[in-house]
């Protein structure tokens, strides 16, 4: 199978600093793929290497199955949507969008058809004659997207394109971007540090940290079965409880024990080469926890004290602490009355089928 984009062992060093460290990626045609990570994790450098603005120190890059490592940016069939939009201020919306087709020598009537079509896709056809300065941030964003899309690239690259928009507009544009991507069927590589944004739009997410990819997978998998502690903590809120594996038939952990001696079932783990005695953390999402006023008898429960309860409308957030001082956050819907207030002792249980262990 040929991929729209493939990275094989791509490394980028700036002097002594390794910005991107042996990254392997394979992005099929039509996929919405996100590179997610904190600032300085190498995601933008990776994107710039795909666009051709940086040359990899090592490794190989394939576009549509053909080698692309050394193709200059103006001959690459990739297009980049810049965070600052980088619309040409002296050209109208139409001329901005027509810039690519004109460079490619597209005939006039074909150019007109394509530009108008893509402006319709981003709902900006009424603004074709405007200058960028006469547009709002959201409109500029759409034009920047149209200017890249009109070239029908093998991969469309987006560098935090919604970063400059306010929250409400950002949420709207997330949904719209996803729709547009489905409509045009072009692979998107989307760089962001916002895990919620990545989950909202992506088919798959690569979580990056310190130049390396920590995990690649669909949003559900990255969220429910994180491969590393970093992923568990970076994606969503997570409670990490130290555990020791006590049963691992065939390397797959099935039971774990807390330092308190309490034992629990394990539904999944990041590794399949575990042995009895392997150490790690049990990842419990706040919304998977259930609070009980009395100790339940039929499932393992951790005793905690309520430090604070915060009413948030649809949910109540409980800040809890265990006897050994571990901090735990739990979310409960407001359907039932709170099991207690600050200072009260409550017992937490969790959705057993979500009990995921990340081994060190």
């Amino acid at each position: 199978m040929s991929y729209a984009l493939e990275l094989r062992g791509v490394t980028k060093r700036f002097g002594d600093v390794t910005a991107v460290d042996a990254v392997d990626l394979a992005i099929p045609h039509g996929e919405f793929f996100s590179l997610l990570g904190p600032s300085g994790c190498g995601k933008t450098t990776t994107l710039r290497m795909i666009a051709g603005f940086e040359e990899p120190t090592e490794g190989e890059l394939l576009l549509d199955g053909r080698p692309g490592t050394t193709i200059p940016p103006f001959r690459r069939n990739t297009n980049l949507v810049f965070q600052s939009y980088a619309l040409f201020p002296h050209m109208s919306v139409y001329d901005n969008v027509a810039f690519g087709p004109r460079r490619a020598g597209v005939p006039r009537d074909e150019e007109r058809r394509r530009v108008n079509a893509v402006l319709r896709t981003v709902r900006m056809e009424a603004y074709a004659d405007r200058l960028p300065r006469a547009l709002s941030g959201g409109q500029r964003q759409r034009v920047a997207l149209a200017r890249a899309l009109v070239n029908e690239p093998a991969v469309l690259l987006l560098d935090e394109p919604l970063g400059a928009l306010d929250l409400k507009l950002r949420k709207e544009m997330q949904i719209e971007l996803k729709h547009i991507q489905r409509e045009v069927g072009i692979s998107f590589v989307y760089v962001t540090h916002d895990q919620e944004e990545a989950m909202t739009m992506s088919d798959r997410i690569a979580v990056m940290n310190e130049g390396r990819i920590e995990q690649i997978g669909p949003p559900e998998e990255v969220y429910h079965r994180p491969a590393t502690r970093f992923v568990a903590e970076f994606i969503g809120a997570a409670n990490l409880l130290e555990v020791e594996v006590i049963a691992a038939p065939g390397g797959k952990p099935t039971r774990a024990r807390f330092p308190s001696g309490l034992e629990t079932a394990v539904a999944s783990a990041n590794r399949t080469d575990a042995t009895v005695g392997s150490r790690g953390v049990l990842v419990l999402r706040p919304e998977h926890l259930v609070l009980h006023a009395a100790p339940p008898t039929d499932e393992p429960a951790v005793e905690t004290t309520i430090v604070e309860t915060i009413f948030q409308g649809s949910v109540v957030r409980f800040e809890l602490t265990t006897p050994d001082g571990t901090h735990i956050t739990a979310l409960e819907t407001t359907r039932r009355p709170a099991p207690g207030g600050p200072g009260d002792t409550v017992w937490i249980t969790w959705a057993q089928e979500r009990a995921h262990v990340v081994l060190d």
Partner: protein, 299 residues
């Protein structure tokens, strides 16, 4: 209760001041405004008073530059018209300015690009070196040019004047263009490359059009600097005359003074007219392209 008490307090304070010659806020603003206007008039008088007086006396029917006014005449203008050296020196100055201006634009563009787009060793030092002619007195530069050309055995004349004008004027272009390049989003350049334009096409379609207003403004500055320069030209012109040199040498004969007055008035008027028209054209061109001319000089 609380609000009522505050209300009373305010009223007391304002009525308490009423018996004296109270200055209302409006009155204070008027006084400030009047002072500002007076200051502005004073500055304008100091700056332009001499030029205006010069212009007035160019119509005075007397060889003496002083009151009382003897009567209106255009004879000085008529005499100027027939002055053969005037036309030669004007043509020389125009020739020099016409050659110097594009050379300065090209040099300024190249150095501004180097200083803003590339990182290299001693970049700061090179930048300072380029800007140096802007702070060294023109007298020193003129004498330096004279010593250099004479020791190198170069015959002085209009070409050496032109070379020296380039030396003093292109750093100004570098400064203006650097400021503009510095403020351009570097991603514009990358965006053009990304959309399939090679470096040359990017320069032609994106970078140069965005620099065009600054280039035009630079051209206006360089042209008038070159055309008006006296000191540097004086030292490096040899036996050639530029217009300012001719004016200076003519001034030494007192009886020609009113004629020089007439010529200077005309030339000044022409230059102001040219610059104003050029500036307006530029402003309109920029407005059409959605830019603001204030971007060039301010910010």
């Amino acid at each position: 209760m609380e609000t009522v008490r505050v209300d009373v307090g305010v009223r007391e304070r304002s009525t308490g001041a009423a018996p004296g010659p109270a200055l209302t806020i409006t009155a204070r603003r008027r006084i400030t405004l009047a002072l500002q206007a007076a200051f502005l008039l004073f500055v304008a008088f100091v700056l332009f008073g001499p030029v205006v007086i010069l212009a007035i006396f160019s119509f005075n029917d007397s060889i003496v530059l002083g009151f009382p006014f003897k009567g209106l005449t255009l004879s000085w203008y008529a005499q100027a018209w027939g002055e053969p050296n005037l036309w030669g020196s004007l043509a020389a100055s125009l020739k020099v300015a016409v050659v110097v201006t594009p050379v300065c634009l090209i040099l300024g563009l190249a150095s501004a690009f180097a200083l803003t787009r590339f990182r290299f060793r001693f970049r700061g030092a090179v930048g300072g070196f380029v800007a140096l002619p802007l702070v060294i007195p023109w007298l020193i530069i003129g004498v330096g040019g004279l010593l250099f050309f004479s020791s190198a055995g170069v015959r002085l004349g209009l070409p050496t004047v032109g070379i020296m004008h380039v030396v003093i004027a292109f750093p100004l272009v570098t400064a203006l263009l650097s400021a503009q390049l510095f403020r351009l989003d570097p991603h514009l350049h990358e965006a053009a490359l990304d959309l399939g334009a090679d470096e040359r096409t990017t320069l032609r379609l994106v970078v140069l059009p965005l620099l065009l207003p600054t280039l035009a403004a630079s051209a206006i500055f360089v042209f008038s600097w070159s055309f008006n320069n006296f000191i540097v030209s004086f030292f490096t012109a040899g036996f050639d005359n530029t217009f300012p040199i001719w004016v200076f040498s003519t001034l030494r004969r007192a009886r020609d003074l009113p004629m020089v007055n007439a010529i200077s008035t005309l030339i000044s008027a022409a230059q102001v007219l040219v610059v104003v028209v050029a500036w307006q054209l530029l402003r309109r061109a920029m407005e059409r392209r959605g830019q603001d001319i204030r971007d060039i000089v301010a910010g």
